[in-house]
Subunit: 114 residues, 2 copies
């Protein structure tokens, strides 16, 4: 039994990515940011779908082709389809921002038969 | 974009179970309790594995054959293997207890080839 909000390193030069569970077809990951954001001009373009929830701190998320920056607060969750390009414009500089992300391949067996 | 801590019904006669994402091989669920606990003598005995995190409130969890009641606070997460019998002894009577559960079949493709 562990705590998602514990075991945060003092020194967070880079964002921290940790796999909490690796299972068949999906993976649960904890991400810890502290003022980090995506590099200028960088867009995530992922091969897997992502269901993500922000649980501490806050962040600004932008999708390619849109001007709006969506503000995520504790509890905000969203789905990012694979290859939907997006970037983290900012995260709270004064505290950790903690995310829980579920990366996975296929929506369901019906639409993706073996 | 939704919030896990929002849209809580005033009236929570029964625990609230909502599927947030149904994907291939797993399902993400929100559970809202308010003082609920497992019925006397009842033990969960699930066909699927469960990764679960408590995110608001608190709860007491017990495993069959053990006396100890494990107290879960916000951020506490644990893995419950399928068919490990367990029960919720109590949840906070004064506020909602909100859980996020990931139910899934197989640990990984290597140990469970198609």
């Amino acid at each position: 039994m562990k705590n998602l909000f514990a075991d945060i390193p003092e020194n967070l030069r880079d964002e921290l990515f940790e796999t909490l569970l690796q299972a068949r077809g999906f993976r649960i990951e904890r991400i810890v940011s502290r003022g980090h954001c995506s590099p200028a001009g960088f867009w995530y373009d992922q091969d897997e779908n992502e269901w993500v929830i922000l649980l501490k701190g806050s962040a600004g998320l932008r999708f390619k082709g849109q001007e709006e920056v969506f503000v995520l607060n504790p509890g905000t969750y969203l789905h990012i389809d694979k290859h939907i390009r997006h970037r983290v414009e900012w995260t709270d500089p004064n505290q950790e921002t903690i995310w829980l992300a579920v990366h996975y391949r296929d929506l369901d067996a019906q639409s993706n038969p073996i």
